[in-house]
């Protein structure tokens, strides 16, 4: 019964979305306060309805109601509680319900927290959110309905793909969706601005918290996904330039550019149409990602089961949403000229450079992701584009980006003093050179690239800290005064420093794993010992171990250093009888300085020999740590006072540039 209520709620939500997507937009055009006033109520109502529908589906999973087709196809009574819960969004239909839930959550968020927005503007934003909901709710109800029954009800379910039965992946989709569905607000704000024909600094300030929220969740979601791929896929790598990974990465790149260009718009009233375009593209790439993952157009390690009808529907949604918005952009944006002038060497100039590099990087990733498709369309040849392409195109674009960060943050607006800034950064320059030299001298005299990577990380971390030190006049005034200044700093400044330092930490992790990973693939018999990066690794043997819904062969390794036991590491091959699949669980011992990462493989020969893969991954945990620090930076910035108060009441007045 409950699932029918959920189904019904979803249909009602669709009806509400139709109202929300039409009347307020019409009302905004006619300046009718009654019609525009509907928008916030509709947004909240829609959220409550979808939340109710989602709750009924979760309930069906938790009680293993196999009369619901979606539960039957993706769950099993022997699954642990947590994976029954996570199973709700571990499949195409269920994850779409989550998708729409988050979409309406953001809509309701704008309705509740955006009470200072001018009513017509809010009506337009929520109207656009409503239209997106119409598209996705109809998609769900027509082609991918999770609320259908089976009669008679089967005795038990088919189970969830074992590779998805994992805490990292269970939490990955919600965070990822909070990120890229969250960018829908950026899209709606941009469309509302285009409809109003007006973009000004207060628009950028309204937009900022929503972009920040989406960005920080996406950062965290990508980090989780990468961590999952690292320990679950058992290849010892953390990023594979897989189409599905790319489709979450592209919105992140453009979203990052958007965060930066919105600053220029907010502070200097420049880059208007560019910022609008970025806001549209960020969500366009999110939609493209949704299309790529669910249509089966590209092969990938983690695509959903696919169905051509769905692909056609999402493509239609994509064409309407993106094509429509870009067409509106082409019509309206040329009128949004103007803005203040600035010299190339200035904070604005640095942020433009940031934007150019990030958007070029996005374009290279997009090209690499779609190239196989384009080539097949044109010539019929089947190819795949792999990491060498991305490493050769993407990485070189990131180097100037990172180099420019400390300089850009120290340049003043309008016209900067480059020699002055560089002299303030002397310490960072010296430290990076020292780091590179020390690496070459102590570790690997041929590791020029690695030395460069560490130097770059030192540069961005120290440069960012020096910028912060400059703001609080550290060591130039008494420490007490510096502390007071520190407490008085805007949160956005602290957030920026935190995020940039996070990027530096991430770079350290990337450099270390890329240059310092040691890999051994060999056959080991029980009792055999090999050395790996100074550790004596002994293969102790294999035992059988039953799990909740699988049977595991558990290989045990012990790692010793100078005869002393450092870690006992278990790697498992789990056989899931319900699904008839085998997964491999890498055994990982993590410290701040290194991971020991062991995987057992197939039997070889008669004496219990096994193929094993042994990895030594230095500093790999820094990589995800850095990403988390970046997300925390976003969070700190979000708590900035000016995003909550300080927004002038702008309904009628065109806000003048903050300072000239």
């Amino acid at each position: 019964m409950t699932i029918e209520l959920g189904h019904f709620a979803l249909v009602l939500a669709f009806a509400v979305a139709v109202v929300q997507g039409t009347l307020p937009l019409y009302g905004a055009a006619r300046r009718d306060p009654v019609l525009t006033g509907i928008a916030p109520y509709a947004a909240v109502a829609q959220f409550l309805l979808v939340a109710f529908a989602f709750a009924t589906l979760v309930q069906a999973y938790l009680v293993s109601d196999f009369s619901v087709r979606n539960v039957f196809e993706n769950s099993h009574s022997s699954k642990p509680f947590f994976y029954k819960l996570a199973g709700t969004w571990g499949n195409h239909e269920g994850s779409l319900v989550l998708w729409v839930l988050i979409l309406t959550l953001f809509g309701a968020g704008v309705a509740v927290f955006g009470r200072r927005l001018p009513p017509t503007f809010m009506a337009r934003v929520l109207g656009m959110q409503g239209l997106i909901s119409v598209g996705f709710l109809s998609f769900m109800l027509l082609t991918s309905n999770a609320f259908l029954r089976l009669d008679p009800a089967p005795a038990d379910g088919r189970g969830l793909n074992p590779i998805l039965q994992d805490p990292g992946l269970a939490l990955h989709p919600p965070f990822l969706y909070l990120g890229y569905v969250g960018f829908s607000t950026a899209y709606s704000f941009a469309m509302a601005a285009l409809l109003e024909g007006r973009v000004d600094p207060s628009w950028a300030r309204w937009l900022r918290p929503w972009v920040l929220v989406a960005w920080l969740f996406l950062t965290f979601g990508i980090a989780l996904g990468s961590w999952w791929a690292y320990y679950e896929l058992g290849w010892g790598g953390w990023w594979f330039w897989d189409p599905v990974e790319n489709s979450s990465f592209m919105p992140w790149l453009v979203g990052t550019a958007l965060l930066h260009s919105a600053i220029v718009l907010e502070k200097r009233n420049a880059l208007k149409s560019w910022t609008i375009l970025l806001a549209i593209l960020t969500f366009a790439l999110s939609l493209l990602g949704t299309f790529l993952v669910r249509s089966g157009v590209l092969t990938s390690v983690h695509a959903f089961a696919t169905d051509p009808a769905r692909g056609v529907y999402i493509l239609l949604l994509l064409l309407i949403a993106v094509g429509g918005s870009l067409a509106l952009f082409a019509i309206r944006a040329p009128a949004m000229q103007g803005g203040s002038l600035f010299a190339p060497i200035s904070r604005e100039g640095a942020l433009v450079l940031n934007n150019l590099l990030l958007s070029t990087a996005t374009a290279t990733v997009l090209l690499g992701t779609l190239y196989p498709l384009a080539l097949e369309a044109l010539t019929g040849a089947k190819i795949s584009v792999g990491p060498p392409y991305f490493n050769a195109t993407f990485v070189p674009l990131m180097i100037p980006l990172v180099l420019a960060i400390p300089i850009g943050t120290m340049l003043s607006w309008k016209r900067g003093d480059l020699p002055g800034v560089l002299s303030r950064l002397k310490l960072a320059v010296a430290a990076s050179v020292l780091v590179a030299a020390a690496y070459l001298a102590l570790f690997d005299w041929r590791g020029v690239l690695a030395a460069f990577g560490y130097a770059l990380a030192a540069w961005v971390i120290l440069g960012s800290l020096l910028e912060l030190a400059g703001r609080i006049a550290l060591f130039r005034v008494p420490l007490g005064r510096s502390w007071n200044r520190f407490k008085g700093l805007p949160r956005s400044a602290l957030g920026m420093t935190t995020a940039h330092v996070g990027l530096g930490i991430f770079l350290i992790g990337v450099t270390a794993t890329t240059s310092g990973q040691i890999e051994r693939i060999l056959v080991m018999k029980p009792g055999e010992t090999v050395t790996l990066a100074g550790y004596e690794v002994t293969f102790e043997g294999v035992s059988e171990r039953p799990g909740p819904n699988y049977i595991a062969e558990r290989g045990t390794f012990s790692a010793r250093r100078d005869g002393e036991l450092v870690a006992e590491i278990h790697s498992e091959r789990r056989f899931y009888p319900v699904e008839g699949q085998t997964t491999t669980e890498a055994g990982i011992d993590t410290t701040l300085w290194r991971d020991l990462y062991f995987v057992i493989g197939d039997k070889v020969g008669e004496e219990g020999g096994r193929t094993v893969r042994l990895y030594f991954n230095p500093l790999v945990v820094w990589l995800w740590g850095g990403l988390v620090v970046m997300a925390v930076g976003g969070f700190v910035s979000l708590s900035d006072r000016r995003l909550r108060v300080g927004a002038p009441t702008p309904a009628k007045i065109r806000t003048a540039p903050a300072e000239a």
């Binding site: 493209l288 249509s295 493509l315 082409a330 040329p334 958007s359 779609l370 498709l373 097949e376």
Partner: protein, 194 residues
């Protein structure tokens, strides 16, 4: 693609630049066209140069210990049949094997095996443990014949018609669905053809 638009922000407005604002939507139309094309393709189908061509010439010895004469080009044709490429070290083959047994016993499909880069003892132990659905099995210890057949990896299954022509190739593990919806209908059709 759109990076140039911001020059219009910082310089004087110019109508000649208006076309730049059209660029994003134009680029998107091209991308959309490729995506639409992509929907008409199934990326998991790998092209096979051998499809609808006669099977290659080959001759393989039997697995030592199995009582047959090996497997060669001369064994193809006459009746429609499957050629299954397998190995005892291949996990997906283990999952697939019960389906082969069913096909041979219940549907009477002739299945010949190509044992790929396998040790004789392991291969024989496998057949003893899991059952032996094969008519003839060739022992391709070096993997040379598999190259002739254009095998990407194990398991792979070919459908060969009465004339010894390869008419279908399944890359990777067969599932009950593939068998019911593709393999069996195809075999039926080939059986009816003369």
């Amino acid at each position: 693609m759109t990076a140039t638009t911001e020059t219009t922000e910082t310089t004087a407005p110019s109508n000649r630049r208006a076309w730049l604002y059209l660029l994003p939507v134009l680029v998107f139309v091209v991308i959309g066209a490729f995506l639409a094309f992509g929907l008409t393709r199934d990326p998991s189908v790998l092209p096979s140069a051998l499809l609808d061509k006669p099977a290659p010439e080959f001759e393989l010895p039997p697995i030592p210990g199995r009582d047959d004469h090996g497997f060669s080009r001369a064994d193809l044709g006459g009746e429609p049949m499957l050629v299954n490429v397998w190995a005892s070290w291949c996990v997906a083959c283990r999952a697939e094997h019960p389906l082969l047994n069913r096909l041979a016993q219940e549907e009477g499909v002739i299945i010949n095996g190509l044992n790929y880069k396998d040790r004789a003892e392991d291969a024989m132990a496998w057949l003893e443990e899991l059952g032996d659905p094969f008519n003839y099995v060739g022992w391709d210890i070096k993997g040379r014949v598999a190259i002739e057949w254009g095998v990407y990896g194990v398991p792979e299954t070919f459908v060969v018609d009465r004339n010894g022509t390869i008419v279908y190739k399944q890359v990777g593990q067969m599932t009950p669905r593939v068998i019911n919806e593709v393999i069996l209908p195809l075999i039926e059709k080939l059986r009816r053809e003369q």
